[in-house]
Structure formats: structure tokens, C-alpha cells
Amino acid sequence: MSVLAFPPPVESEAAETLRAEVRAFLADANAARTPLERAESWNGFDREFSRALGRRGWLGMTWPKEYGGHERSAFERYVVVEETLAAGAPVAAHWIADRQSGPTLLRHGTEAQKRAILPRIAAGECVFCIGMSEPDAGSDLAATRARAERQGDGSWKVNGTKLWTTYGHEADYMILFCRTSGTPADRHEGTSQLLVDMRMTSGVTVRPIHDLMGQHHFNEVHFEDAVLPPDALLGTEGQGWAQVMGELAHERSGPERFLSSIQLLIELIGALRGSESLAAQAAVGRLFAHLVTLRRMSRGVAALLEAGDDPTTHAAIVKDLGATFEQELPDIARSLVDEEPDLRSTSDFAAVLAYTMMAAPAFSLRGGTREILRGIIARQLGLR
């Protein structure tokens, strides 16, 4: 059979019923958002919107009810995720928590951690940030230098710096990946994950890092003798690497990895509507074919996740192809529509084009660079 076969997506009637409900909700809740705001995709931050999703039972959907979840399938969750993204809804206040922090807590957390935090995530009341990258540990995550030392009373003293921490300035919690023994030379050994209460911990400084557009999503988070309670340890001491790899599989597997530019595609179709241009038809037909195919593959990854299979390689393929698709869009739009990109333009097309063009470089960096993903795929092919 095929070297890397993708399982077919699971068609579910419950998921399609839910889709109609989500669309009806978004038509109302998201109506006031301009196309330029929609183009921000998963960077849009709005706690009230996240609470509204939580009230409808659309966060923590697959988790057990005893932790505030709703015990629905991964396919139903997929519907909520893709519909909110396609509509350009502001998802950032629940995004990281619902996608990866919650599942990591569910898998590795203590009973007390799960009871304290998961219901708040499911209610849309709890913002998480990711504590992985560092100034000297980007793609090479195992080079992490941030360190938590166990104190005599069982508490942890943390020193080090995390970087590119999206919405660290809004976050209630961080899952910190750091060294708890040994040295960076030990690589995967001696690393752990710790739960950091970003509101209550002293010795934590969050400094903004502005992106090339001047927007503030990223931060540098500096720990200086920050003390975490003994029960801050998440999962098993020394098993941080294995845990973080599982978390990354969740981070890389979703439809956000090919829908970041969708607002531009919608504006492009608006600008070309009814066009008899053969070049326009060929370009749009190609993009549509790519999108439908990526969606099928991504839903196949959801089927792998639901079945409990390891989706790492399949997710890497979807993310690599997806980022390439997202990044091609601005130049394809420029080649078909004679309009200057301009963030402040009254033309939605011109503004969304300008935004997407400047957002695009990040698509193949965040969540694992293109080079890292291709290394993962090559390993699966037996080349490494």
C-alpha cells in the first residue's frame, strides 16, 4: 500500500448538525468584525467571545464532563475550530488552552490540577501561553536552558527566559518547559513541564516584542528566582521531552495550519467574481482544489487522533503543505488583481492583501519551522 496513506475522514451527522448551529451563532456574534479584523485569523483576542463559545459548550468539547468537558467527538470539535477560523472569529483568548494546554493537563495533570483548571478553560475563562522557545532554543528545543531547582520545602525556583510567547501578557497560566536536572548537553534527559500561575507568581516579567507590523502578540517572559509551589510539576519529572512532543502533535494537527489566509482568498474571489479571465479561473480552481484536499487530509489526521494513533508525521505533512498554500496566496492575489496593498485602504481587498502579505512569513515558522517538519517527514521515510 501507500508509503504514507492518510485515513479517510469520518463523516458524522452530529457534526453536520453542529455546523449549522455554529454558523448561525457566528453570523450574529461575528457580524461586526471587518474583513481586515477577520484576516488576523487566530491572533484576534476577545475574552467575551471565548466566554460565549464556552457557554455554548464549544470549548473543551472532547473532555470528560467531570472536568467541565462535553464528551463530544474530535470531529465535532473540528467543526467548531474550522468554522470559527473560516469566519475570522477572535479565538486567541481560548485557542492555546483548548488546543494543547487543556489536553496536556488532561493527560498528565494531577486530579487537583485538572479540577482546578479544566472547567475554567471549558468556560472560556482561562488564557494559556506556551513556554517552549528561548533565545538560544528555537527549533532546537532540547537546548532549553531555563531551569527549575527543587528547594528544601519541595517548591521550585525558576530562572531563565522564554521567547515568542504569544499572548503571554494576557495569560493566566503558562506551561513551562524547562530543565529540572543536568545540563543542556543532556538534551532530552532531565527536562520537565511546570504549571506557572502568571498572575500570582512573583519574579516573572513579561516584556512585549512587536512584530514587523508593529503589533503586539509576542512577548519575552523572564523568570528571576520565581518560586512555584511543589504541586506546580505537570506530569512526571524528567519526562518533559516526551510530554512536549505529545503537546506539539496537537499544536500541529489542526485546520489553523492552512486557513490563516482564507480571508484573502474570500476577498480575491469577491474581486474576481464572475470573471471570464482564464488565468483567474485556473488560479482559483487550483486554490480551491488545494484547500479541499488539505481539509480532507487534516480531517484524516483528526481521525488518527480520535483513534489514538500517533499523528506526528501526517500532521507535519499537512502543516508543511498548508503553510506553503497560505504563503502563496498573497502573490497569486497580486498577480490577478491590479490594486496596491494598503493596510489603511478603504478597499477590503487592498487592506487584507497588505495584512496577509506581512503575516505570511510567520506561517512556516510558528509551531515548528518548515525545516523541522521536513526533517520529521524524512525520518518517517527512513532517511534519518
Binding site: E267, I269, R286, F288, A289, R296
Partner: protein, 268 residues
């Protein structure tokens, strides 16, 4: 997939791969060898495989029929087997008798017949894409330069990762169209257009990378790679060129306009 169809798939794979092995690249088959090969294909009933059971076919479902077509794509043989399978299906559906011997051209087709033939080409491409991926992986593991296997060079690893991604995407698009065939009408037509647009592009990229990584060796007539890459270059433009199919999809999407776009994606 039931036991009967998996037996059919296994014996077809065995026979076709055996016949495919006998094709030495760059050398035509002797007449007697040709006649003997086609006789074996007929004995297995493959030319009649896509006909209904009542007319002497194998009674395969659409999904199974296209799986058999994928197996044909995996094994390049010197007869137009898939075209013959299609011609016999179309002939017997119209009340005519199946043909003697391999059939090169299908003649005038209805729109629905053309779509089925186009989807068959997509599934042949899906099969052949697998082969060039496997051939390329083997080649870079076996061939050494600068004292180490090509597979150990990061540039080679990343090229192969791209090749694997294109193969996976092309296959997913073709499989999607087979799954959508049951919906019939415009939905099936659109899915076939999507498949041909996507897998056609996958063929271009995959064949280019396969040749690049095989080096000059793979460009030689006596190497088997070209049996597959030249087939892909031909198939991607038959029963509607890739450009024609892609424009059909684009025209439909543009006519529906921006508000209908996302519902069209989830409905496709």
C-alpha cells in the same frame, strides 16, 4: 473490502507486477511475449473487470473498481489495460459486446463516461506516484556520493519530504473524488475536477523531484523511472487536460461568489 475483492487485488498485483518486470525499459517486447502477456491478462478477466456482474464482470463496487485501477497505475505494462476496461464497461452498458484484445482509443464519450475515465486516470496517477516515491527512497539509500548515502544529505531529505507530501496530497484528492462519486451529478463532477487539478500538480512536482534525486542514471532510457514519469506526464492531461479541469472548478467557484465560498469548501 471483502475477501473476494482482496483476492482479486492480490492476484492482479501479482500478475501485473510480473508482466511489468518483463518490460525492460528502452527495449520493446517481442511479439510472442506480447501475445502471451495479454492472454494472461484476459485469463484473469481483467479487461472485463469494470463490467457489471450480469454482463460477465467482477461485480466490483465503485470503490473497489478504482482500487483495481490504482493497482494498474502501480504496474506499467505495455497494453492500454485501463482503457480496455473502461471501453468494455461503456460498450456493455450500451448493449454492445466487449471487445477482443486491447483497445487504444475510447472514441466518443458521454459527459459521465468522460468523468469516469478522468477519475480512472487520477487513480492510475495515484498508483504510479507511490512507485516513484518508493523508487526514489531506495535510490537515495543505495547510491553513495562523497562517501555517504545520498539519504544522509539534508538537502536530499527535504526534497524527499516534499515529494512525499505531494504524493500524499495527490492521492488524497483522487480518493476524495472516488468517495464523492456516489453523490452523482454536479458534486461528483466538482470532486473529479478537484482531483485532476491537485493530482496533476502533484505529478509535475513529484516527477521533477524523482528525476532530480535519481541524477543522470534516472534519465537513461534503460532505467525504469521514465516508464512512470512519462506515464504521469501523459495521464495528467488525458480525458480533459489538467488546465481544463482546473478552469472548470475555478469557473464554478467564481460564479458562486465570496459568500458561497466556505460552504462550498465544506460541501465539496
Amino acid at each position: 473490502m471483502d475477501d473476494v475483492s482482496s483476492i482479486i487485488f492480490e492476484s492482479a498485483q501479482r500478475l501485473l507486477s510480473d508482466l511489468s518486470e518483463r518490460v525492460s525499459a528502452g527495449r520493446p517486447m517481442a511479439d510472442c511475449e506480447r501475445a502471451d502477456g495479454w492472454r494472461q491478462i484476459e485469463e484473469m478477466g481483467l479487461p472485463f473487470a469494470l463490467m457489471s456482474e450480469a454482463q460477465g464482470g467482477l461485480g466490483l463496487s465503485d470503490a473497489e473498481a478504482f482500487e483495481l485501477v490504482r493497482i494498474c497505475g502501480r504496474n506499467v505494462v505495455p497494453w492500454p489495460l485501463v482503457d480496455t476496461m473502461l471501453a468494455n464497461r461503456f460498450a456493455t452498458q450500451g448493449g454492445a459486446a466487449p471487445a477482443e484484445g486491447p483497445i487504444d482509443t475510447l472514441g466518443e464519450l458521454t459527459a459521465e463516461q468522460k468523468e469516469r475515465a478522468a477519475l480512472a486516470r487520477a487513480m492510475q496517477m495515484a498508483g504510479a506516484l507511490d512507485v516513484i516515491l518508493v523508487m526514489t527512497i531506495s535510490h537515495v539509500q543505495e547510491r553513495s556520493q562523497f562517501g555517504r548515502p545520498l539519504a544522509k544529505f539534508q538537502a536530499v531529505q527535504h526534497s524527499l519530504a516534499v515529494l512525499a507530501g505531494e504524493v500524499a496530497a495527490g492521492q488524497a484528492a483522487a480518493e476524495h473524488a472516488v468517495a464523492r462519486l456516489a453523490r452523482g451529478g454536479a458534486a461528483a463532477t466538482l470532486a473529479i475536477g478537484i482531483a485532476r487539478a491537485r493530482i496533476g500538480e502533484a505529478c509535475s512536482k513529484a516527477a521533477a523531484i524523482a528525476h532530480q534525486l535519481h541524477g543522470a542514471i534516472g534519465y537513461a532510457r534503460e532505467h525504469r523511472l521514465h516508464l512512470y514519469t512519462t506515464s504521469l506526464w501523459r495521464w495528467r492531461d488525458e480525458y480533459g487536460t489538467q488546465t481544463w479541469w482546473t478552469r472548470q472548478v475555478g469557473r464554478e467557484v467564481l460564479a458562486a461568489g465570496p459568500d458561497a465560498f466556505w460552504p462550498a469548501v465544506t460541501g465539496a
